[in-house]
């Protein structure tokens, strides 16, 4: 199995041999920051292109095909256009908060993006309460959304932001409960440890019934958390023009747009990590030859395959179902998902206590 810590320790050794340790660490931090932002942009472009092609396939049409071979340069044209669009200043808007809101959303998105383990040894933020940190970081995005709606000086944006805020804080609970179910199964919150412990079988197999229920609840709640799919009422056209980001144009709107798709990838990546094994290949305990063959495929290929599969699942859900009303969204959460989630957590605790898992 390709271990990325070989590369990182080589780089660290090379740098410390030619300069003092503090400077080496500083240069490494800057390099990691640049790589993180680059990866963020690349993942955003891949996600948006995938959305357009997958959406078209579900609707019996072709997506972008004219710009570049098979439409691959379409996103770059969109990026150029977004960069040169005028940023309209709203007359009575609160200027500081209005300009700050997109950056808060991007900040929370990048913080959450940095937690994902892509390969063995390739994690940026990895400490012993990783799961807890992820939940906290993704909650910062709600502040950005509320600020955007409030400071736009537009009553419909405000309604959109309030609805979005209510929806996001409700579904945070379900996300937390379903992740907690897996944390009970494995008694660690550190992401690299969670992946290491799936070496003899992914948690969705090891934890049979409660883990499958938790996976489904996580998918639904994660979808609602990032305002995607049947839960995108804040962006519903006939209700609120464009909801909390109505008054944004040009690059500010581009930041909201990009953050939405990368948040989708983050939700899928966390689902792939916690339930489907992250970068761990498919191991069937007992079949050593099979496991050897699976090990030849590098970890990041497994990771991206699983994450993109979950992204495809979420896109399938989005392009099948009509939008839910806000009261239906909140009913679904508080009357169905939370009781089922709590009961599921209890079931998992019972399974762990009596040892009824693989």
């Amino acid at each position: 199995m390709f271990d990325f810590s070989i590369v990182t320790s080589w780089i660290h050794g090379f740098l410390t041999s030619v300069m003092p340790v503090e400077l080496a660490v500083f240069i490494e931090c800057v390099a990691i920051g640049v790589c993180l932002l680059l990866a963020y942009a690349v993942i955003a472009i891949i996600m948006i292109f995938m959305e357009r092609k997958v959406c078209a396939a579900f609707q019996c049409r072709l997506g972008p095909v004219r710009v570049g071979p098979w439409g691959t340069l379409q996103l770059f044209a969109d990026v150029f256009k977004m960069l040169i669009k005028e940023i309209v200043t709203i007359r009575h808007a609160d200027k500081f908060l209005y300009n700050l809101a997109p950056y808060i959303v991007i900040l929370s998105s990048i913080l959450a993006f940095a937690c994902i383990p892509v390969n063995k040894g390739m994690e940026i933020l990895d400490f012993n309460v990783g799961v807890f940190f992820l939940m906290a970081a993704s909650s910062i995005g709600i502040v950005g959304v509320l600020l955007a709606g409030w400071s736009s000086n537009n009553k419909y944006s405000l309604i959109g932001a309030m609805r979005s805020g209510a929806q996001m804080i409700s579904y945070e609970l379900s996300v937390g409960l379903s992740i907690l179910t897996i944390v009970v199964l494995t008694d660690t919150m550190q992401f690299s440890e969670i992946v290491e412990r799936q070496a003899d079988g992914w948690f969705i197999f090891k934890g049979h019934f409660p883990a499958v229920i938790a996976f489904i609840i996580y998918l639904i709640a994660g979808n609602a958390e990032v305002n995607r799919g049947p839960f995108d009422l804040p962006e519903a056209e006939s209700e609120l023009t464009a909801g909390y980001h109505t008054e944004y144009s040009g690059m500010h709107f581009g930041l909201f747009y990009v953050a939405e798709f990368v948040n989708l990838f983050i939700v899928s990546a966390i689902a792939a990590t916690i339930f489907l094994g992250g970068w761990m290949p498919l191991h069937i305990p007992g079949l050593d030859g099979f496991n050897q063959v699976m090990d030849y495929i590098p970890g990041f290929v497994w990771f991206f395959a699983k994450a993109l599969f979950v992204v495809w699942l979420l896109m399938w859900i989005k392009w099948t179902f009509p939008r839910l009303r806000i009261d239906q969204i909140l009913t679904l959460e508080w009357k169905y998902l939370i009781p089922i989630g709590l009961f599921n957590l209890l079931l998992m605790v019972v399974c762990v206590v009596f040892g009824w898992h693989f």
């Binding site: 078209a56 396939a57 579900f58 609707q59 019996c60 049409r61 072709l62 095909v65 399938w316 859900i317 392009w319 099948t320 179902f321 169905y336």
Partner: protein, 153 residues
């Protein structure tokens, strides 16, 4: 009128899940069907409209450049919109000395035509008909005012 069934908590939950899965199966099958998109600029060579499609009004001319219009003005009277305007003049036939009406210019405003075909129906000599050409977008509105007859000079 079918009666709506009232579901309890668990029955409603399972019924809801069943309907969701039905919808998902439909779109899943749709994902793998052949796509029906007609790729417009690429298929221009083979693209054919059906015969009755009204694209734009034309006045067909034969090989010598003659048209069948006698400048009677019936199409102009039939048009509900004042899209057609006929400029005609009376010319005297030099041999017989009789006066006849002759068409000078046949103005047609593509921008206000509503393609109702009342003008073609009104023409007694089939001088005008609709052709199936539909690519008319222009940058200046003046380019949509057309003159349909070709003068021989």
């Amino acid at each position: 009128m079918s009666e709506t069934k009232e579901y309890g908590y668990f029955a409603g939950l399972f019924h809801g899940i069943k309907t969701l899965l039905t919808g998902m199966r439909v779109t899943f099958k749709e994902f793998f069907t052949k796509k029906v998109t007609e790729q417009y600029p690429e298929n221009r060579a083979t693209l054919e409209m059906f015969d009755r499609f009204r694209g734009t009004l034309v006045m067909p001319h034969d090989e010598q450049g003659n048209n069948k219009c006698i400048a009677c003005g019936l199409c102009q009277m039939a048009c509900p919109n004042d899209t057609i305007r006929i400029d005609s003049e009376m010319v005297e036939d030099p041999e017989t000395g009789k006066k006849k009406r002759r068409l000078v210019r046949y103005h047609y405003d593509l921008g206000s035509c509503m393609f109702c075909q009342l003008c073609v129906n009104a023409c007694p000599h089939d001088a005008i008909r609709f052709s199936t050409e539909f690519e008319h977008a222009v940058f200046e509105r003046g380019k949509l005012q057309k003159i349909l007859n070709i003068t021989k000079e």
